[in-house]
């Protein structure tokens, strides 16, 4: 936007005598410049950038991720490293090929990479995060115009894309069985597969873990989804930093809580059933970190509430009636597609206007 316009009052070669005077005290002559920058107001801005926002998200995710590495072993770290490197690398490559400015410095690709890794089981072959990164960054993000233009959450879209390899995606290693092998593809002996709490609920039994274990992350699942306590802490950090607003997480988690309490799958114990539903299946990770993704969530407060309720409703419906035990990823992706319409329907009442958007 900055435009340089030649200063008409200053001849190109000479500097007016009045401006030749030295700045008092400094002994240094500082002149008025020959060219001034003419750019639109405002002339000052907050130092916050996309990068600082994304850095906050990474900070908020890290504790839960580190816990995942502790629970599932050092291989989780390798999966994340591959995923982040692939996302950042592919973003740069795509932008170079598309003749766009390379913007990996805004850290958004790194966030996608970290989220993708946290949404994968520790035992996935190492080529899978690369394929996922390609789908997330190149197909979903860059081909649709880059940051802010993607129509669905890239990390979630990649995760669902990777369900093409269903057995790898659903082989969850048991808690306490840390996977230390860094081999690109694991064989059966390398880890002990285990049922996730949601799979147990689907089968009509209460999970074998206690609710306390659920809370502390001692159960099978994807790397980043198990540690409820740290995910909550990260979510609260984002709220305090005003990176996200309360609307989506509260509406999302509240809807799931209400529905699973009123219609418990393990009837007779509605509170326990509700708590298992809330603490399992990546609901907290989804509600605080994925559903709140800026590009794919509504921008108005009312829209965010509708979005959260919709996510909650679809999550419960899929969990209860679908063949797959988890519903968070799918619900968010479905709601992503409605964002434009939700925004339009919830246009704020204008100052001095009559009603919705008028």
């Amino acid at each position: 936007m900055d435009k340089k316009i030649e200063n008409p009052s200053v001849p190109a070669e000479t500097v007016p005598a009045a401006e030749e005077k030295s700045a008092a005290g400094t002994g240094r002559k500082i002149r008025m410049p020959e060219m001034l920058t003419v750019s639109p107001s405002p002339h000052i801005k907050t130092p916050d950038t996309t990068a600082t926002v994304m850095f906050d998200v990474i900070l908020a995710l890290l504790p839960a991720f580190i816990w995942g590495v502790y629970v599932f072993g050092v291989r989780a770290l390798a999966v994340a490293a591959v995923s982040i490197a692939a996302c950042v690398g592919l973003e740069a490559a795509a932008q170079i090929l598309l003749h766009r400015p390379v913007t990996i410095g805004d850290l958004s690709a790194a966030v996608t990479g970290l989220l993708l890794a946290m949404n994968l089981p520790v035992s996935v072959p190492l080529w899978m995060p690369v394929v996922g990164a390609f789908f997330a960054i190149v197909v979903v993000k860059q081909l649709f115009g880059g940051i802010g233009k993607n129509f669905v959450n890239p990390a979630l879209a990649a995760r669902v894309f990777l369900f093409s390899w269903a057995s790898e995606m659903t082989a969850f290693s048991a808690d306490g069985e840390r996977v230390t092998s860094l081999a690109p593809v694991l064989t059966e002996g390398d880890f002990v597969a285990s049922a996730t709490p949601l799979a147990s609920l689907k089968a009509g039994t209460l999970p074998s873990e206690t609710i306390f274990d659920m809370f502390l992350g001692n159960h099978a699942g994807c790397t980043g989804e198990v540690m409820s306590l740290l995910l909550l802490a990260g979510g609260i950090f984002l709220l305090v930093q005003r990176v996200i607003t309360w609307h989506i997480p509260v509406a999302y988690i509240g809807t799931v809580a209400a529905l699973t309490f009123l219609f418990p799958r393990y009837s007779g114990m509605p509170i326990e059933s509700m708590l298992y539903e809330l603490l399992a299946g990546g609901l907290l990770l989804g509600a605080f970190f994925m559903a709140t993704d800026y590009a794919t969530s509504p921008v108005t407060p009312a829209g965010r509430l509708i979005f959260g309720v919709g996510c909650g409703l679809i999550t419960v419906l899929i969990r209860y009636f679908g063949t797959y035990p988890e519903g968070v990823s799918f619900s968010i992706l479905v709601m992503n597609l409605l964002v434009w319409y939700i925004d339009k329907a919830t246009m704020p009442r204008r100052f001095g206007g009559k009603s919705n958007g008028k």
Binding site: P8, A23, P33, P42, F351
Partner: protein, 447 residues
């Protein structure tokens, strides 16, 4: 509880000069006075090259339509009348006057001899017009016309001393050092309008000024001080009226339509001076600040003083400026001319070095964080309007409320993506206006 509105932002205040007393600038050697300083018709020069002029002498006037006269701020000789491109893009005539340092005051200048109780509304309007007073807050609407348009419609007079723009402390110092002139100006305006209620709206970052004003207005039934929350854009007239009265000015209407009329604090003081001394508006308080200025100051500068003279009075520069801003950093305009003169609406001159107050990155991409929507004092969806503006979809830009934008810049200030949101909206607004004018001209039968 301080009065406020919904939306808006907290900006870094940079009120570095709030302790700097108003200092009168010794009359500069040369002044260049633009004949068009505000909305309305440009004034026609009444002097020609070589004419002697005196302090307060009328040098330009408007014969028909909206506009007010222009006066010489120094005594001396007219050396030239030049045409230059002004900030609004039009060619404007500037009267260049060489100072003779005699400070001869125009013989026509004399105080109003009548008592305030005997002065009629028409007389006040006439005096205000002859004194060339226009709004000194930034928008610079001719004050006499504002009084005329408010007559019989308003029951509240609001004095805007919010001064919500960063850096500027000109009003703050005026309220501290010359509160009587502001209050006396308010009394004159109240009399002229036949209104019995006046609010002095001051942000709560100026508690010393608030205390002073409360002391001065103690026992007054008509004038009261209202403490406003420090928030940008508190000084926007729509937000000010809403904060004080709870009434939203409907889209496309003016404060007078909801019974309010708003004057800037310094405008009130100028009205008072026109009465008490007969002195037209020939000088104003300018905050000179920015990271390039050695000693930031509040300067009482003659209209037409060039930036270079102001900077010299402030001890010169400490680094090379890249941007010179006429007004505050949020809504002021960047200048391309280091010879830019102080006009009736120049509340500040800011000199910023390369990169001051800017972000470290230059890419502009909306990440849809929704901050602009949360902050918009007009409750619009700035990022959507900006996107429609970018693809030149004027229909939808208008549908999303482009024309309601007050261009306060809260959206651009807080945008992490670095998008110049308000500028995109300005482009859309201008294009919508132009399109409407074009359609209107098409529907007129050709002559």
């Amino acid at each position: 509880m301080a009065y406020t509105f919904r939306g808006g932002i907290h900006v870094e205040e940079y009120k570095n000069t709030h302790r700097c007393r108003i200092e009168a600038l010794p009359a500069p050697e040369i002044v260049t006075i633009p004949l068009s300083q505000h909305i309305g018709a440009p004034a026609t020069a009444l002097v020609k090259k070589g004419d002697p002029v005196t302090v307060g002498q009328k040098i330009g006037d408007v014969t028909a339509g909206l506009g007010c006269p222009v006066h010489s701020s120094i005594s001396g000789t007219v050396t030239d009348i030049v045409k230059k491109t002004a900030q609004n893009g039009f060619n404007v005539e500037y009267v260049v006057i060489q100072n003779d340092f005699k400070d001869t005051v125009c013989p026509d200048i004399h105080p109003v001899s009548k008592k305030l109780t005997e002065v009629t509304t028409e007389e006040v309007i006439g005096i205000v017009r002859e004194a060339g007073i226009s709004g000194m807050g930034g928008a610079a609407f001719p004050t006499y016309a504002k009084i005329q348009s408010a007559l019989g419609k308003v029951d509240k007079l609001i004095v805007n001393c919010a001064e919500c723009e960063p850096f500027i402390t000109a009003n703050h110092r005026l309220l501290l050092e010359q509160p009587a002139s502001v209050i006396n100006g308010v009394k004159i305006l109240l009399k002229a309008l036949g209104v019995r209620t006046a609010y002095l709206a001051v942000e709560d970052n100026k508690m010393d000024a608030i205390e002073k004003l409360e002391e001065m207005t103690e026992g007054s039934k008509m004038i009261s001080v209202k403490v406003m929350k420090t928030k940008y854009p508190q000084g926007d007239e729509r937000q000010l009226v809403y904060a004080l009265t709870g009434v939203e000015i409907p889209s496309g209407k003016l404060p007078a339509d909801v019974g309010c009329v708003i004057f800037n604090a310094e405008t009130c003081a100028a009205v008072y001076r026109a009465f008490a001394f007969g002195m037209p508006l020939i000088s104003r308080i300018v905050t000179v600040d920015g990271d390039c200025v050695k000693r930031p100051r509040n300067i009482l500068a003659p209209i037409g003083t060039r930036v270079t003279d102001l900077v010299e009075f402030c001890g010169g520069l400490v680094r090379e400026p890249k941007k010179i801003i006429n007004g505050g950093p949020m809504m002021g305009a960047a200048q391309w001319d280091t010879e830019m003169p102080v006009t009736k609406s120049t509340s500040a001159v800011l000199l910023f070095s390369e990169g001051f107050g800017r972000k470290s990155v230059d890419t502009q991409s909306c990440i849809r964080c929704g901050k602009c929507i949360r902050n918009c004092p007009m409750h619009l969806m700035p990022m959507y309007i900006a996107q429609f503006s970018k693809i030149h979809d004027l229909k939808r830009a208008e549908e999303y409320g482009a024309m309601n934008c007050v261009e306060c810049g809260s959206c651009s200030y807080n945008c992490p993506g670095g998008v110049e949101i308000v500028q995109h909206i300005r482009v859309a607004k201008a294009a919508i206006k132009a399109e409407k004018t074009r359609l209107a001209s098409l529907s007129q039968p050709e002559k």
